[in-house]
């Protein structure tokens, strides 16, 4: 299948079956264009997280093709996965911060593992944390922060590499509404800077409030694709 260069993510007849016989996704087809902000909606177990795992090459599709940034993930070499992931920022509901490292170490770590020089990675991490309102927290440890602050640190870690695509799996699932709004403000800002954003969420009020394209899943099937529901 030929991917359109404008499409950063293309899924074509994708099935995902977990052994022994658990069908997580069934016949999924959709495309996401560069620069879009897309919600992946659906109740728990609808297949949202599996979908994001396929796009970030954490899992492989059982059938069909997943094409991200022009790379077909069904046939991607293991050595190319690292290069693909450098262009993707991932944000999780449980933040996945390293508790034994300070806030700035956590953000700089994302640059360290891709080989950025030490001075540069700490400068970049500091600037990103300052931009996200965490200047006073750079030397704190994650467990000393509120949930909202921890999520902003994890967003700083995802943004510091200037990814082309950001995948967020229930990023506000553990946050109160004010914190959630702050987190979405950051994602919208990253989107304005050119990053494509895909957010998995079952939070309908939030999806409605943001008025963005929404792809709806139910029991592993795509049941609706609403482009800017309120026009």
């Amino acid at each position: 299948m030929q991917a359109n260069p404008k499409d950063i993510v293309t899924l074509y007849h994708v099935d995902k079956v977990y052994p022994p016989n658990q069908q997580a996704l069934r016949g999924i087809d959709f495309k996401v264009q560069t620069g879009e902000f897309v919600f992946i909606a659906g109740s728990s177990g609808a297949g949202k997280s599996t979908l994001l795992k396929l796009i970030s090459a954490q899992e492989r599709a059982t059938r069909g093709q997943v094409i991200v940034g022009g790379r077909n993930l069904s046939s991607i070499a293991r050595t190319q996965v690292a290069s693909l992931r450098r262009s993707i920022g991932v944000i999780f509901q449980d933040y996945k911060l390293l508790e034994t490292r300070t806030v700035i170490d956590n953000v700089a770590f994302a640059l360290e593992v891709v080989g950025v020089a030490k001075r540069e990675r700490y400068q970049q991490a500091y600037k990103m944390l300052a931009a996200l309102g965490l200047k006073e927290r750079v030397n704190s440890y994650p467990l000393m922060l509120s949930g909202g602050e921890q999520q902003r640190v994890s967003i700083a870690r995802a943004l510091v590499n200037r990814p082309k695509l950001i995948l967020a799996d229930e990023p506000t699932g553990n946050l109160d509404p004010d914190m959630a709004s702050a987190v979405f403000n950051l994602l919208l800002e990253a989107n304005r800077c050119g990053a494509t954003i895909m957010v998995a969420s079952h939070h309908l009020a939030l999806i409605e409030a943001l008025n963005k394209r929404t792809i709806v899943f139910d029991k592993g099937k795509l049941i609706g694709d609403f482009d800017r529901p309120r026009g």
């Binding site: 050595t79 690292a82 450098r86 996945k96 020089a117 709004s181 403000n185």
Partner: protein, 334 residues
């Protein structure tokens, strides 16, 4: 937890207005990368971190490597010194092969040439019947006149005096070579060494075998232990490794520090084993220098040659790297 009814369109965080990322997002130039020595230093630092992160397990592993290599190199040291003593006494390596009276001269000459080109023969001297008689006469000295009564008859056989080449680890091959010589149709009899040489030779053979078996067992054990230690380190750092992989670390970037950790274990263990062996050797030699056995001074011992010492250290390093690689392949999806 977020509540659907409370949700409102997001506002920027306090003190932050729209467009706060824009300037930061655009990079004027690519970020400088770690290269060459900086990257190597980074790997080394992270390698040391893997060792320092679980000190107890790592110390146990290093001690095990040290003890294993100490035992093995101790065997090598004993074999080397027994070999040296036997070689120096010479009797172990000197063989006389007596030629049959009826052996045709051309066949004897051909056999001598064949022996000269054999790898197990270091030096060779053909003693003709006449030379044997002259030598015997010389040995008898003033009583040499007794031989005048032989009236042209020479009862002494011709012989080949051989000095054998010991194999790389000692004298284990002597008996086989002598046996081969004894069975040759031109040879009447073979005389060499004495019984104690044969006994020591068989002890050396058992020692060598025991050394190799011990080495094989302890190397397997050491690789298992290193793999287990690295597995524990991988387990204790699984979150970090998972984040590394998610943000795009190459598999080398994840693996190399663990391999370096294994190499540090192997290198430290082998260096400790060599230090202890050297200390034990020095003490033993010091004792021997002031001791005698039945009034005879005991021989001065020699240490392992530098090539063997380097080989043992390299063996430690290889075993360390192998243990880590095994653990990485088995326990980490990179």
């Amino acid at each position: 937890m977020a509540d659907d009814s409370d949700f409102h369109i997001p506002e920027p965080p306090p003190g932050i207005g729209q467009g706060f990322l824009e300037d930061l997002w655009r990079l004027d130039k690519p970020m400088p990368r770690m290269e060459g020595p900086t990257l190597l230093l980074h790997y080394l630092k992270r390698g040391f971190d893997t060792v320092a992160s679980l000190p107890t397990s790592n110390i146990v592993t290093i001690i095990t490597i040290a003890v294993s290599l100490f035992l093995f190199s101790g065997f090598l040291l004993i074999i080397r010194n027994v070999d040296k003593i036997l070689t120096e006494t010479g009797s172990a390596l000197h063989v006389s092969a007596y030629i049959r009276e009826d052996a045709p001269e051309e066949q004897v000459n051909a056999f001598v040439r064949e022996l000269e080109s054999s790898a197990w023969v270091r030096a060779l001297h053909y003693v003709s019947k006449e030379e044997a008689l002259q030598s015997f006469r010389a040995d008898l000295g003033v009583h040499g006149g007794f031989l005048d009564g032989l009236e042209g008859q020479n009862p002494l056989p011709a012989s080949i005096d051989l000095t054998l080449q010991p194999d790389e680890l000692g004298i284990g091959n002597i008996e086989a070579s002598v046996e081969r010589l004894r069975r040759h149709p031109l040879i009447d009899d073979v005389v060499y060494g004495s019984e104690w040489v044969q006994e020591i030779s068989s002890v050396v053979r058992v020692f060598r075998l025991f050394g190799y078996v011990t080495l094989a067992i302890v190397l397997g054990l050491v690789i298992f232990l290193i793999a287990n230690t690295i597995r524990l380190v991988i387990f204790s750092r699984r979150d970090e490794i998972s984040v590394m992989q998610l943000v795009g670390a190459t598999s080398n970037f994840v693996r190399v520090p663990f391999i370096i950790g294994g190499i540090i274990q192997g290198l430290t263990g082998s260096l400790i084993s060599m230090l202890f062996l050297a200390a034990a050797f020095w003490l033993l030699n010091y004792e021997l220098a002031y001791s005698t056995l039945f009034g005879i001074a005991l021989p001065h011992l020699v240490f392992l040659d530098i090539l063997t010492v380097i080989s043992i250290i390299v063996l430690g390093i290889v075993v360390g790297a192998a243990g880590s690689s095994f653990a990485l392949r088995r326990f980490m999806d990179v």
